[in-house]
């Protein structure tokens, strides 16, 4: 188990700056996610860590060892590629054994470890298959076994589930977490799927334009996004424009066209003064629909379109100024017919105040 430290990493491709000064510390044994829209630099960062790119500036440390200029084959990382990169001219067992052969492990040990690794991903009975004879999910398991069997210092996962169907994705993501945790591995996982990140990560970094927008636990990032982009990228949200009025302790009081709102600042380093423009981010599930008005954190509107999904219903609430997305758990649809007037109310803890 090692910590991975990234110091002020810069990577340019010609004139394009792919990474502009990334600083990050991943704790030993942590399952860390790199998340962001396509082109944000998350894969570039992972490939720098794997050694396929050499950064232009900055350092990468595995534990105390500086690996910045170490070639990939000396880094002892186990990488899972988006395409799996399983070699079609070898069998399942040969693929998994490859890394051990490169490490000159005794052949009796190789056989034993390959079997164990394939057992641990439930692929024990497919050892002699060719890669082309496996399904997508099976290939994914073999790729995982191949990355883990070498007992790497850390595991690098590059969108490992993006080629699977939705059902398998659910199954495999908890499988990946189980395997990483059982082996006590430091793992870095790149994805653009926020559900994957929220569900299994210990911590995550949201990247935006080659910079880190926010680092935190899933809960921190979801509940207290520090920028508008993060709030928008992770989960769904409603944005309301407003003007800063005053502070009530840690609580900020904001004036909006629909009435006064109370909430908490997303970015702890930012202190708006009275009269500053701000943006409020309120998640669809934070609202509750009531028949009677409230003093703060409330908007009046009529129900527009609605989608009934069983455990949850999604409504559009048409207010005088904008439309709000509202989710209601355990919905009582009979009471919510279209056109009916309601007050949507959110608690102050669910209101995040952001820089516009």
């Amino acid at each position: 188990m090692i910590a991975i430290t990234i110091e002020n990493l810069v990577k340019k491709f010609g004139d394009t700056v792919a990474l502009s000064g990334i600083t990050l510390r991943i704790e030993p044994g942590e399952l860390f996610f790199l998340l962001g829209p396509s082109g944000c630099g998350k894969t570039t960062l992972l490939r720098n860590i794997a050694g396929f790119y050499i950064p232009d500036e900055g350092r990468i440390l595995f534990g105390d060892e500086d690996v910045t200029n170490l070639p990939p084959y000396k880094r002892n990382t186990g990488m899972m590629f988006q395409s799996y990169a399983l070699w079609p001219h070898m069998t399942v067992a040969e693929n998994v054994a490859f890394g051990l052969e490169e490490r000159r492990v005794r052949s009796a040990d190789i056989r034993q470890r390959v079997t164990a690794a394939l057992e641990s991903v439930q692929m024990g009975q497919y050892t002699e298959r060719k890669i082309a004879q496996l399904s997508g999910g099976q290939q994914q398991r073999v790729a995982l076994a191949r990355a883990l069997v070498i007992r790497p210092r850390c595991v690098l996962l590059d969108e490992p589930l993006s080629n699977l169907d939705a059902r398998l994705r659910l199954e495999m993501r908890s499988e990946i977490r189980r395997v990483c945790k059982e082996n006590g591995l430091t793992a870095i996982y790149v994805t653009h799927d926020q559900k994957e990140a929220l569900s299994i990560s210990d911590r995550m970094a949201v990247l935006e334009g080659g910079r880190i927008a926010q680092i935190g636990t899933p809960e921190q990032v979801y509940r207290r996004p520090i920028t508008r982009v993060v709030a928008d990228f992770i989960g769904e949200t409603n944005f309301l424009k407003g003007k800063m009025l005053s502070f009530d302790g840690a609580k900020a009081v904001i004036e909006t066209v629909g009435g006064p709102f109370e909430g908490f600042l997303g970015d702890p380093d930012w202190k708006p003064s009275a009269g500053d423009e701000v943006i409020l981010s309120i998640r669809p599930e934070s609202w509750s629909l009531r028949g009677e008005p409230a003093a703060v954190n409330a908007v009046k509107g009529r129900i527009g379109e609605s989608i009934y999904l069983g455990e949850v219903a999604q409504y559009i609430l048409r207010t005088a100024h904008n439309d709000l997305k509202i989710f209601e758990l355990n919905p009582h649809l009979s009471a919510r017919c279209q056109g009916q007037e309601f007050f949507a109310v959110a608690s102050a803890a669910d209101v995040v105040v952001l820089k516009p």
């Binding site: 070639p71 084959y73 070699w87 079609p88």
Partner: protein, 564 residues
């Protein structure tokens, strides 16, 4: 892969090219432009254009090149069009058979075609038998000076190169382009002329350039026809006094300049990669099933062309088995004695051994160089890699004759490479000559392999601790093995039948490869042509095995190797 490694590979391959491609050419240029007093002169070149004998040779060479190319195009374009449009009975078999002539040694075929088209040959005998010909005045089918024999043989040998290029170009044409023309009322031949032909012109020129360069400088076929008033043969005879005579140098330079100008010119005019098709193909297109009559017609066309193209070689085989064949349609009797005699001749067995040795070594060298160059070109971002790529393709533009002559010139006594002089031992210089000439095919097929193999497969190996070179051996090479085997087989079979290098560079009897042995046997009076044919049949058998293996492995991708 690591940058230093790539740079080393880059430098080594570039060095090889500098020494064994640029140097011999430079040596030839020196011979042509430096007078006996050591000063620069163009008098040798101007003398070439004043001497009526050399001028006639050049004129004949030009005719040989132009007419061979036109005839090849006349055969290849309709064939390619038919193959692109229609499904007909036996298409896949006929489609491969039609390529066979390419690897049949044309200069061996010359023996056969003389037997068939000569004044006392099979065709005249046939015409006599059916009463269309007065026996007293046989027709001379091969023409004055036999240039038509050379042209026909060249065209029948080289049309597959054009066919493959045109076929690929046609496959690239979006069917919607032609549908749009039809929609606007243009159809049939007019549509072909106004739409299809302009779109495939780059493909026609890519193949046509190679065919022209090849036939323009062909040495073996005119030699076998005793057609001596052609530049290539004049150079060949001039080699005997290479030490003192500057005119072979000047002739070689004139040939080289014309082919390079042509190659560069056609690259500039048509090389901007074929027209990029704006839209993705919308309709299925593809060949449609021809009706029974049309289908049989198509099959018949392919069968006829193949038959005509291998007719000379059938002639060779018949000669090899015949007791006598003079003024009759078929040989008057069959015998195996020529094979026995040929094997018994002291030229034969050593020449087969030599050819296997030279061609085998050349193929290995080609594979190493080809993989290295393809790797640098496809897998690295080194500046200058395109130059390396272009250099690796240049042997297509530089005639074998020119290079062979250059090798001879650079190994003359007193030159830095005198230790490679072929009169001492031609092994090294022949192996290098063979491999340089065939390198483009190997580079092409290896590059195609690298392009088809995802880089992540290599990255995955490095990630698991496998250093770059071992990754190449354990992952990449096995994955592109099919391409390499195909390129290698092709290089091998061409090397086995390489003519100009062999005739020029192998100078002692015990060093002769098969082709030179055939040439020498053919010179023998009396049973010479029978012995030469018998050895030729052996050579063709070798080749048949190689080419069938290649096409089995490569299938349809075979065409990609022959593009300029």
């Amino acid at each position: 892969m690591s940058r230093q490694f790539s740079i080393i590979v880059f430098l080594l391959t570039a060095l090889f090219f500098a020494l064994f491609f640029l140097w011999p050419i430079a040596e030839t240029l020196c011979g042509a432009f430096v007078g006996s007093d050591g000063k620069f002169t163009i008098s040798y070149i101007t003398e070439v254009f004043r001497n009526p004998l050399y001028l006639e040779g050049l004129w004949n060479s030009l005719q040989m090149g132009v007419w061979s190319t036109l005839l090849a195009a006349f055969i290849a374009i309709p064939l390619a069009w038919v193959s692109d449009r229609f499904l007909f009975p036996g298409k896949s078999l006929l489609g491969s058979l039609v390529l066979v002539p390419m690897i049949m040694p044309p200069f061996v075929g010359a023996i056969g075609i003389k037997q068939i088209l000569g004044q006392q040959g099979a065709l005249n005998a046939l015409l006599k038998d059916i009463g269309c010909l007065n026996p007293a005045h046989p027709i001379d089918w091969l023409g004055e000076g036999r240039i038509w024999g050379v042209i026909v043989l060249n065209a029948l040998h080289l049309y597959p190169i054009l066919y493959l290029n045109v076929l690929a170009a046609l496959a690239n044409v979006d069917p919607a382009m032609e549908e749009a023309a039809e929609n606007l009322g243009c159809r049939g031949l007019r549509k072909f002329r106004r739409i299809t032909l302009p779109l495939i012109i780059p493909g026609i020129f890519a193949g046509g350039t190679i065919v022209f360069i090849w036939s323009f400088t062909e040495l073996g076929v005119p030699l076998m026809f005793d057609f001596t008033r052609v530049t290539s043969v004049q150079i060949f005879y001039g080699i005997k006094d290479i030490g003192g005579n500057p005119f072979p140098f000047a002739l070689v330079v004139v040939l080289l300049c014309s082919t390079v100008l042509l190659y560069v010119g056609s690259k500039l005019l048509f090389g901007r990669d074929s027209y990029s098709m704006m839209a993705k193909a919308t309709s299925q297109g593809g060949p449609r099933k021809a009706g029974l009559a049309l289908g049989l017609l198509c099959s018949g066309l392919f069968g006829l062309v193949t038959f005509l193209a291998i007719l000379p070689h059938i002639g060779v085989i018949l000669v090899a088995f015949s007791t006598d064949w003079y003024q009759t349609i078929l040989p008057s009797g069959l015998t195996l004695s020529h094979f026995e005699a040929a094997l018994g001749h002291n030229l034969t067995l050593p020449s087969i051994q030599n050819s296997l040795k030279y061609a085998g070594l050349a193929t290995i060298l080609d594979m190493v160089l080809g993989v290295a160059i393809a790797f640098v070109v496809v897998r690295t971002r080194l500046p200058g890699r395109q130059i390396l790529d272009a250099m690796a393709m240049l042997p297509l533009a530089v005639p074998g004759l020119v290079l062979a002559f250059g090798y001879l010139a650079m190994t003359q006594e007193g030159k830095p490479f005198a230790f490679l002089n072929p009169t001492i031992d031609p092994l090294i210089i022949l192996v290098i000559a063979y491999s340089v000439r065939r390198l483009p095919y190997v580079v092409r097929s290896a590059a195609a392999g690298f392009q088809q193999t995802s880089v992540t497969l290599e990255e995955a190996a490095q990630n698991l601790g496998c250093p770059p070179l071992r990754t190449l051996r354990r992952i990449t090479i096995p994955l592109i093995a099919a391409n390499l085997i195909a390129g290698g087989l092709l290089a091998f079979s061409f090397a086995m039948l390489e003519v100009s290098d062999s005739l020029i560079l192998a100078q002692k009897q015990q060093d002769f490869p098969i082709t030179k042995a055939i040439y020498e046997l053919y010179q023998l009076l009396g049973e010479g042509r029978y012995l030469a044919s018998a050895l030729g049949v052996w050579a063709m058998a070798f080749l048949a095995v190689a080419i069938i293996g290649t096409s089995l492995i490569l299938g349809k991708k075979l065409g990609a190797i022959f593009r300029a």
